[in-house]
């Protein structure tokens, strides 16, 4: 059974969204390769939201209300594999967390694995009511690797 991660990270006020977008664009190939290597993530996407707009769609202007959303579905235990995630995508999170409220306290994540794990848990909407309910899965007993093997 896969588990959801819905990481909602408020951006430090005054951050230029273009700078943020450029950083994300820069790390995307590395992120894709790392997720392939990790081998437990079904889907992953990073989105920008803007709390200042009625429909949360970002307007592209500098503001104080942006949120980075990291949304994935993954196999196994996130807690148990936090060390492996840090090994594979730690530097990517370091790059993103510099723009995130509270992120500086866990950078570099490789030196702060436990604190980084706690930070993820704190900001993962999927772990908190009312969003921690079971979710629909078309193939609830099949892992990424089993799918790849078929």
């Amino acid at each position: 059974m896969a588990s959801p991660l819905t990481l909602l990270l408020p951006v430090i006020p005054g951050t230029n969204p273009q700078t943020l977008g450029a950083t994300l664009q820069q790390v995307q190939p590395q992120l894709d390769a790392a997720l392939t290597s990790i081998g437990t993530v079904h889907y992953a996407r990073i989105m920008f939201l803007d709390r200042a707009t009625p429909n949360l769609q970002p307007g592209g202007n500098p503001g104080d209300s942006y949120v980075i959303a990291v949304i994935t579905e993954y196999d196994g235990s996130f807690d148990a594999y936090i060390g492996d995630f840090v090994a594979q995508v730690g530097t990517i999170f370091d790059a993103l967390l510099q723009f995130v409220v509270g992120g500086a306290a866990v950078i570099p994540v490789a030196n702060n694995v436990a604190a980084f794990g706690a930070f993820i848990a704190l900001n993962d909407a999927s772990q908190h009511a009312p969003n921690n309910n079971p979710f629909y899965q078309a193939y609830p007993t099949t892992t990424v690797q089993q799918i790849l093997a078929c």
Partner: protein, 484 residues
């Protein structure tokens, strides 16, 4: 990775070197007078007052009369006076402790292995503060003499909850009959081993075994205060009782079911024949014991030489004990085996098994000692809870052209035969299961053995911190926990 220059005289010896001795005694202690306990720690560091000195990793020219190391639980550090803020910087698994229900669930200490049933005072984790380890070469009289000196020294400041003896079996065997102590990680910066058994794997970052150095993820594990950080380490102390009669019965029953020889099944569940030869180098019969230099010199995946490849686990099952605990270059989800190595410092305890009289008066026998790492969470617990208790960590992988059909994902099931919970009830959520792989799509021709029971029961444990010598001196001068 460049090897750091380690100050061996600041590192407790058991972390980086096995002592190659035959006798050990592990004292489980509870601090009753923190200030006096601090004085004792100082005396042990300096070897004063007629006491042996804590053994370091520094090179010795004349073999010492004994080897001595000391570790502390989280409650032990608190009893000595470490503050809650300082303790908050330690490994969260260490802080949880071995008897916590969370820990027990992660590592499979459930049912007959549950901490509530542990022996020697270990069931009450809060009262276990110190584990003092004494090793001597082979003379029981020397062991008793030094143990008496230690007992006299700690009598006024620590209560002895229990003492546990270990005695090596001939030829480095364990009670299940296998030759042991073959595979250990090569730690970057560690002293060269006298009796090195080279392997085919990358050396492991110093920071995987010592705090204060870069680890395999390019991070650094550390704690506060700084005096306790660099050159310290963690360990899981474990008492693992082996059901030898049960194992021999398992071999006979399930070898017959599989249509193979019992010794072949013994090799399949372990990954090595009982003489130590690995299945990867001796797939069909144990043969004569291979030269030491070859015993650990193999990998599982070989795309350049398909006839030496075992991606599918046809020679050495993917679920075998040594392959689960160190997949080497086999593809696993997450990262790789280099991030989850541990140093094993365990010795047999209890009388040798007598197959002629398999059930005399109940005699406990098994393995006792430390499993050492810089992160209990990412090494011991990961290894125990993930690779030993699950079968979904293997990546999709096909064999190189011509060496078999199928996929590695389908060629492993259940838990480790030795370290698994192994519920024989087929209706349970995780019933015991072991796969003997064969070529075939989606594992269609595999043999899957089911219905067997747990073979190793945890009888005790503690999560320990092995301070540096500098760290021990720091602990020695602490005032003790404030009065509550």
């Amino acid at each position: 990775m460049t090897a750091p220059a380690l100050d061996y005289a600041d590192i407790q010896g058991t972390i980086l070197s096995g002592y190659r001795v035959d006798l050990a005694r592990h004292f489980i202690l509870s601090i009753t007078d923190a200030k006096a306990a601090g004085n004792l720690i100082g005396a042990l560091v300096d070897g004063t007052g007629g006491l042996p000195r804590i053994t370091t990793a520094a090179r010795w020219t004349v073999k010492p009369e004994c080897f001595l190391n000391i570790s502390f639980t989280a409650t032990g550090l608190a009893a000595l006076g470490l503050t809650q803020a300082q303790l908050g910087t330690f490994d969260p698994a260490f802080l949880r402790g071995a008897t916590s229900p969370t820990t027990a669930g992660i590592v499979g200490d459930v049912g007959t292995s549950q901490p509530a049933d542990w022996i020697g005072g270990l069931a009450n984790g809060a009262q276990v503060h110190v584990i003092l380890n004494l090793w001597v070469d082979d003379d029981p009289a020397v062991l008793e003499t030094i143990a008496a000196r230690l007992r006299a020294a700690f009598a006024g400041c620590m209560a002895e909850l229990s003492a546990h003896d270990a005695r090596a079996l001939p030829d480095n065997r364990v009670h299940f009959g296998y030759r042991d102590s073959i595979a250990q990680p090569t730690v970057i910066g560690a002293p060269p081993r006298k009796h090195d058994i080279p392997d085919d794997q990358p050396p492991v970052a110093t920071g995987e075994f010592l705090l204060g150095y870069p680890n395999a993820s390019n991070g650094i594990y550390s704690v506060q205060p700084a005096e306790l950080s660099t050159n310290s380490s963690y360990a899981a102390f474990r008492i693992l009782e082996q059901d030898v009669a049960g194992f021999e019965a398992f071999l006979v029953e399930y070898a017959a079911k599989a249509g193979i020889d019992a010794e072949m099944l013994a090799a399949k569940v372990c990954g090595r024949w009982r003489n130590g030869n690995p299945l990867m180098l001796a797939p069909d019969a144990p043969g004569p014991v291979l030269p030491t230099a070859q015993l650990n010199d193999f990998t599982y995946v070989n795309t350049e030489t398909p006839d030496q490849d075992d991606t599918l686990g046809l020679k050495c099952p993917i679920g075998s004990h040594i392959r689960r605990n160190n997949p080497r270059n086999g593809a696993v989800v997450g990262t790789d085996s280099t991030h989850h190595r541990i140093v094993r410092r365990a010795m047999p305890y209890g009388p040798p098994f007598d197959p002629v009289h398999p059930h005399p008066t109940p005699a406990a026998r098994g393995l006792i000692g430390y499993f050492i790492n810089a992160s209990l969470f990412n090494q011991f617990e990961f290894l125990t809870g993930q690779w030993n208790l699950l079968s979904t960590f293997v990546k999709s992988a096909k064999a190189p052209c011509g060496s078999g059909t199928g996929n590695a994902v389908f060629n492993i099931s259940g838990e480790d035969v030795f370290l698994g919970v192994n519920d024989p009830d087929s209706t349970s959520s995780n019933p015991s299961s072991f796969t003997l792989a064969a070529c075939g799509a989606s594992g269609s021709d595999n043999q899957v053995l089911t219905g067997f029971s747990r073979l190793i029961t945890t009888r005790g444990g503690a999560y320990c911190f092995l301070p540096s010598i500098k760290g021990l001196r720091y602990l020695a001068q602490l005032p003790g926990a404030p009065e509550s």
